[in-house]
Symmetry: C2
Subunit: 435 residues, 2 copies
Amino acid sequence: METHSTQQVRVLCARVSEHMGHLVTVHGWLHSIRHLGQLAFVNVRDRSGIVQCVLEGELAKTPLSLESVVSVTGSAAHAPKAPGGIEIHAASVRCISAAAPLPFEINKKTIGARLDTLLDHRVLSLRHPQLHATFRIQAALAGAFRDYLCQHDFTQIFTPKIVASGTEGGSNLFPVDYFGRQAYLAQSPQFYKQMMVGAGYERVFEIAPVYRAEEHHTSRHLNEYVSLDVEMGFIRSDEELMDMEQEMLRYMLEKVAAECEAELAFLGVDVQLPADITRIPVAEAQHILQRKYGKTSPKGDLDPEGERLICRHVAEDGKPAFVFITRYPREIRPMYAMPAPENGALTASFDLIYNGLEITTGGQRIHDYEELTASIRSRGLNPDHFAGYLDVFRYGMPPHGGFAIGLERLTSRLLGQPNVREASAFPRDRTRLTP
Amino acid sequence: METHSTQQVRVLCARVSEHMGHLVTVHGWLHSIRHLGQLAFVNVRDRSGIVQCVLEGELAKTPLSLESVVSVTGSAAHAPKAPGGIEIHAASVRCISAAAPLPFEINKKTIGARLDTLLDHRVLSLRHPQLHATFRIQAALAGAFRDYLCQHDFTQIFTPKIVASGTEGGSNLFPVDYFGRQAYLAQSPQFYKQMMVGAGYERVFEIAPVYRAEEHHTSRHLNEYVSLDVEMGFIRSDEELMDMEQEMLRYMLEKVAAECEAELAFLGVDVQLPADITRIPVAEAQHILQRKYGKTSPKGDLDPEGERLICRHVAEDGKPAFVFITRYPREIRPMYAMPAPENGALTASFDLIYNGLEITTGGQRIHDYEELTASIRSRGLNPDHFAGYLDVFRYGMPPHGGFAIGLERLTSRLLGQPNVREASAFPRDRTRLTP
């Protein structure tokens, strides 16, 4: 309960049932209104839910527009036909902030407008219970990520997003004018999270935006997104990272299933927990795709269709649609990727594909200074441009590795949303810079 | 315990005492080495602490350099003279990653190098236990912020940092080239957090970087910093926001005192909890400064010396050095600041000064569409440039307000650091863009 200037104490809609027979005041948005003779049935929606209010006589004539912010005071009563079996018999209604006519309806079961319209009027579209649920679930996912890592002795870090150079040689970077100097927006906290491992924190994570100036305009890409980054020292191999990510995802999804039961039920989402996630070397995955679906893949990699098909393949075995693709060739992985112990042309790295889309890239990193500078040179890059990063490898660096999960992709895959923009409150893409 | 390729299970330094009389393996950085006749005393440091290892005979001659990553296996034994009363009698020592000669010593009680040198070699300087502690404490502060807000029904949000326009008319913005269009780095999530309140989440928070292209080069300014942002709907007044921030800070500092006991003790910091934080209108604060210290202030505001002196004033009353300064005049607050109910020339806004430095700006916001557009026009700004933001005020907006805490400033004030850069792992300032 919260105190308010109306004198009455505010009761959240979901808590009205605790005050049966008593006078309560609810504050919220006017979700729907229905006139029936001398009565008006008004549904008020707040962050906790919706409650029906019954207005009689003169009160029923109060001019009210949908989505206005209102305050209703009245007595809480049982009403078997009302949602939740409860209604408020209104004694007074006050309009706190009147709403203009809406560009689309948000009180129907599904929302009719096109995605672009919904994104143009984001504040309004996010009030629709279905769209609203997405970002509660997203917050729960990010919270569970942090909780799991804190329980496992990881330290949260905050690293700069304005950087002097890219992590992978300079492509896909947004330029920033930094007091007349050329700077860029960070594509990932890759270098900084490795540096914080080497700074003695050993196990670190970051939850922060990253930037990719990719020209792609697809349902899978955002130019700014939230990266859930993990890096840990003293690992034996990339297998340990996959073990850890699998356990962490299980924890995160279990926690979201518990914390967001109502939101998930509302969206009709049944959370499938990953058990032991199958690990398939990319070369073998390509053979499977060729043999089973006649699908040809690009050299050393899977394309979006390949990602969808390989998930169908593992899901056919009755498992949830998670699959680790491993052992990518060196030429398609960054210069810091650790060569595979059994074959130096491959890397100890992996992607995680979830319901048909890559949500994670990870792997063990090179920790030897000489090996790393050689790798940088082999890409035609100049080690001098990476001096701040390379410093850590000169002063004692443990074997280490990590991974990153795209928060919007994880959310949209969990919820079965066809477009990743649906899982970004205010997406940034090739053409969209507002709101 | 963690398994490792050395076959032996890794034991953290702080856990060696649980294995007395048994063979243990520790992995970590070589903190110090001391030769004494046929013996070498080697301190190994990992994320949990430091343990002494004794090397005898041939083993004592192992060439080892400070800060190398090593693995030591031996039996855990009582040793009254060793730190913690424990040592490892080494049976084998392995160098995992050798360190080059260090640019400065990091195994003395205090670190001798200048701040710029420490920042240039950040990965190394952060290994010094004192500097290391700062970022554990910072992580605990951020974690406690989130925990408090989640317990009070707030939803974590993630909003874009690439924006089409500034929140306050266009000064101090870093320009970004966004696919050939002019964009900027967000100075604050101000508009977006208000929009998420209006999107029905009511209570939201964000932990994310913000950007200020201020030319200042002072001990108080960073050009990129982490903002702990809060915004809540259905408030009565700015008093409610101050009540809430005060309770939240008490929670955060209590939690950090409990979670980081060792780090705080190491830094000699005694955490002072805020009780009821004094609230002083800025005009009155100016009078106090004038009367008590002969200090003149700028119009409607306090300058840095004024912030220090007003803290001295409240601390003299035996209270911790927290003080809310309230009722700033409209002309020095942003266009969205709510006018004070008793005097329209003032605002229902506040700053929080902590140990001599402003760490928070907050206040109630205008929620009426007409009042807000009038306020925008009164600043000589064009409401059309704020269309996406203004949308929320057209479709029902509750009374609301919020505040933001600068994470680095909070950290540095708590720890008594003279320069806020000490509380940023990789600070960005007028001249510093690396590492």
